[in-house]
Amino acid sequence: MDKTKCGHQWEMVNTRSGFIITEICHKCSLITTYFSSEEHPPLEEYRDGEHFWNVMSSSQSVQFDLRCRLCKTQVSFDELSALMLCTSCKKDCKVFELLERGQGHSVWVYVAFGFKPYKDKRQLTGEKLGILEDYFNMKRKSTKSSIKIVSHELIYDEDSCMGGFIMDEFLLSLDAPANK
């Protein structure tokens, strides 16, 4: 079968549970994020080249691949750390612009975040974002709305992002996130 012509039907395979760990170097304030299948992040500060890493947070999460039922093409999404539903924001942000444009047509914008530091790590390609978007839209039954997945690169200021993250940061903590 010609894979380029296949009208892919994606399914989620090879799901792996683990933790998204965020660390900060207290010397240069650089932040790094990575996926680990080990529950316990390094407790003590450790040195890696010129950086001194300290754990900031760890959230339970999953990694997965998408595979086409028809042509068996398998795409890994190891570059994806989390999806965030954009809800409201400053006007200058391109993602919010997209959201405002889409609202009337019920297009909901999700931002796919990669792992930090963004410039040093492989990030999701536009093609992969498209596949992910197709997968979720196909999975959805609703005809009234659809979703759009965009890269974190469109965000104006990540630190002020107030969207809804699909990650499980607070499961282990005894404080229910509702009260945060």
Partner: protein, 273 residues
């Protein structure tokens, strides 16, 4: 009609029904659990889980077993064939808990186990409802008769708890005064007593049950200035005969039951507005 579920199931039945793999057993054939709590959120396990239950969870962190232990659960069953970590198993072995895993997902596991539930309809008296609700916390304290040196300790601790919960200062003040007076009564007139504080979003409820000489005439004891304190006690500034009247003045509800030469039971209630 209020319905309470009675759930008593042998652990080996659970194993069979869920077709579960046993990682740590620590259980005899006749061991049973009295409830099932299905959750991935450990804060709720601690807040609402009932002792004797089993935790059904998809959270495979070691926190799961620790939270189950804190909530006095008998064991944990992991769903979706999760392989528990060695640390979890070690903890379970040390604390005498069981660890199972099943291929079912949460809904599947729940409905299989739900069939075992014996549902007994039960008329719950209105008064007991609040004490059966999840929104309360209970503390017990002991008081020794004649221990003037420690008098006031219970009141201080109760006050600290009420403050942490965040009740209005006014109600805390009234509760503190009432408990202090009740405490003094025990110290002066009884051998020992147990104080139980139940705090909820609807009321603060305090029971003081003492073993002692009891109150012969409650109406008389409720009169300001009436006192059976000894001369020595009065010389020290105690026993002005204001104890019970003062509680009545401060409490929203006061119930006294007493049997001479056996003891007294005082129930003090404060309503939260």
């Amino acid at each position: 009609m209020p319905v309470t579920a009675k759930y008593i199931v042998e652990v080996k039945r659970i194993q069979e029904i869920l077709n579960a793999k046993t990682w740590v057993s620590n259980i005899s054939d006749s061991d049973y659990i009295t409830g099932i709590y299905a959750s991935d959120l450990m804060s709720d396990v601690l807040a609402y889980g009932k002792p004797g239950s089993m935790l059904l969870t998809g959270l495979y962190s070691v926190q799961a077993i620790i939270s189950a232990y804190m909530a006095e659960f008998r064991g944990v069953a992991f769903i979706r064939n999760k392989t528990p970590e060695e640390e979890t198993l070690k903890f379970a072995r040390e604390k005498g808990m069981f660890v199972l895993s099943t291929a079912s997902d949460m809904y599947d596991a729940c409905i299989k186990l739900a069939g075992l539930e014996t549902v007994i309809p039960e008329e719950a008296p209105e008064a007991e409802k609040i004490h059966k609700s999840d929104n309360l916390t209970t503390y017990t304290f002991k008081i020794d008769g004649n221990d003037f040196a420690s008098a006031g300790m219970v009141s201080t601790r109760v006050k600290a708890i009420l403050k942490s919960i965040g009740y209005e200062p006014e109600i805390i003040r009234r509760a503190a005064i009432s408990i202090y007076e009740a405490e003094m009564n025990v110290v002066m007139h009884a051998r020992k007593a147990e104080v139980t504080l139940t705090a909820s979003d609807k009321e603060i409820y305090i029971i003081v049950i003492d073993e002692g000489k009891g109150i012969g005439d409650i109406d008389l004891a409720m009169q300001e200035g009436y006192s059976t304190a000894t001369e020595e006690q009065r010389a020290l500034g105690f026993g002005a005969g204001m104890g019970l009247p003062n509680i009545k003045k401060n409490a929203d509800k006061l119930d006294i039951n007493s049997v001479v030469d056996v003891g007294t039971r005082i129930e003090i209630t404060f309503h939260i507005k």
